[in-house]
Amino acid sequence: MLDTITSTGKKATRDGFGAGLKHLGDINDKVVALCADLLGSLKMGDFKNAYPDRFVQMGIAEANMMGVAAGLATGGKIPFTGTFANFSTGRVYDQIRQSIAYSDKNVKICASHAGLTLGEDGATHQILEDLGLMRMLPGMTVINPCDFHQTKAATIALADHHGPAYLRFGRPSWPMFTEGMPFEIGKALHLSEGTDVTIIATGHLVWIAVEAARTLEKQGISVDLINIHTIKPLDEAAVLASVKKTGCVVTCEEHNRHGGLGDAIAQVLTTQHPAPQAFVAVDDSFGESGKPDQLLEKYCLDEETIVKAAEHVCRIKNA
């Protein structure tokens, strides 16, 4: 199955959001879009141009944007907010907590430039804590798609998924490889069948995990490769079925090792099927300026780290 996963070119996940949002504008007149002065960065221009009456420029005022979105949802609209991931979560956590999550408002919080790969802007903008923040909110759906197509599919799916949701995507051009693959909120995507080690990845790290899996297969290590795009609610059945088969797991995410995908998986395994786990994630630090590839290497979110992590958990399992 790994052989069939091929990149058909590169586009940014945020472009997938923009395309999905425009499509929603075409088919669902309840969908409205709010943006906090980052129209171009969020790729919301096509929606705005096609549906100016359903686009709301909010200015650099994210707290108010979250409240206004809650109000629009109260009135029956389906608001999609757009700004950087940092300003979509940490900056407005209490607004999301009280006015959206606790109030069960049907608001879709759409966040670009998540993680290290926004690059040169540095750590003020490179949030690595957002998945944890949003996972902790009761009732919040949390989705971190891996490429253009999956982000587009997730955006479209969210309009029919009632309740508050956080959609996390990024800045860089990134390999596209999920076209034609199924997408269902809360359902893991099984990319490759294997028996020796489970690799579970989310977001940009999925493509890197695909490449690591190819290397491991060449070394004779059979990889069960799973893409978890929906971190909450988590597809526990898929995780357990895989780890019961392989006996060990590596989790991969562009996020602090605290609070993200790895934590979510560990909680499932420790309570239901304990197994050796390695965390490919940022080791409790902030990021810094640099090229995306340089940052992924420096912060150990690269192919080599995943391969070593897989070898490591296999050794523990067999010890």
Binding site: G59, G67, G75, G76, Q95, Q98
Partner: protein, 282 residues
């Protein structure tokens, strides 16, 4: 012709409800609740078009948002007295497994509440979002939002002030409860607000003043505010009230912001407030 006496009688019962609820719960916020009893009575029994059957989306209804959610007792009383839920439920205020949470929430399914409030500064943004949705759907009804004066110290309020004026949300009336008190003392000592009206006028709102503890002044003021709608500017009312209004020993101090009366204080308060609609049973 508005029957002011009828509204005053309702407000007296609402004030009884407030002190009895807070006394029974041994916690809560009586001061601001008493100060705003006339306003909420006028809104729900005279000014607003609203349906106690309660539809979340408020289509073709006026909407009230209580941004300063800690004065939940006055809102719960007025909602119950206008038919949103049984008056007897007021006795459950702040109890385990109740819908009348310390601060208002949608989470327990209480009819009449459209968003949780309590963490200050957030209600106006939500109200403006509902106002915008009404504009988008050609719904000509009005959004009323009550905010505390101390609450204006929250930065989000001023983001919302910019937004309301910029989007010309002239279907919105914000009422600021100007009682000059907050938890730690006078607003002007804690963090001076100065001329609130001048500030909102500078932000592009149509500003007026109103005596919030005279029923006739409240009814007239709300009528005047509604007449100013539809002219390109949202309306902001500086509503002067006395914290604790209606109970003499609770007035004129921030002391009664967030404490409950004891048994003797309850009796002293109730002696000043005629029972007009029948107290809720305990």
């Amino acid at each position: 012709m508005t029957d002011i006496k009828r509204l005053e009688d309702i407000a007296s019962q609402v004030r009884r409800d407030i002190v009895r609820m807070v006394h029974r719960a041994k916690s809560g916020h009586p001061g601001g609740s008493l100060g705003c009893a006339d306003l909420l009575t006028a809104l729900y029994f005279e000014t607003m078009k609203h349906d106690p059957a309660f539809n979340m989306d408020a289509a073709d209804e006026d909407v009230f948002i209580l941004s300063n959610g800690h004065i939940s007792p006055v809102w719960y009383s007025v909602l119950a007295r206008s038919g949103y839920f049984p008056v007897e439920e007021l006795k459950t205020f702040r109890e385990i497994n109740c819908r009348l949470q310390g601060h208002p929430t949608t989470h327990e399914g209480l009819p009449g509440v459209r968003v949780a409030t309590g963490s200050l500064g957030q209600g106006l943004s939500v109200g403006l979002g509902i106002a915008l949705s009404k504009k988008m759907t050609d719904d000509s009804r009005t959004i009323f939002c009550l905010t505390g004066d101390g609450e204006l110290q929250e930065g989000q309020v001023w983001e919302a002030a910019l937004f309301g004026a910029h989007k010309q949300l002239d279907n919105t009336i914000v009422i600021c409860d100007r009682n000059n008190q907050q938890i730690d003392g006078s607003t002007e000592d804690v963090m001076a607000l100065g001329s609130i009206g001048s500030k909102w006028a500078a932000f592009g709102w149509d500003v007026m003043e109103m005596d919030g503890n005279s029923m006739s002044a409240v009814v007239e003021g709300l009528t005047e505010a509604k007449s100013r709608l539809g002219k390109g500017k949202p309306v902001f009312i500086v509503m002067k009230t006395e914290m604790g209004a209606g109970v003499d020993f609770m007035m004129g101090s921030h002391k009664w912001h967030g404490i409950a009366p004891n048994d003797e204080q309850l009796e002293a308060a109730l002696a000043q407030l005629p029972e007009t609609l029948g107290d809720f049973a305990v």
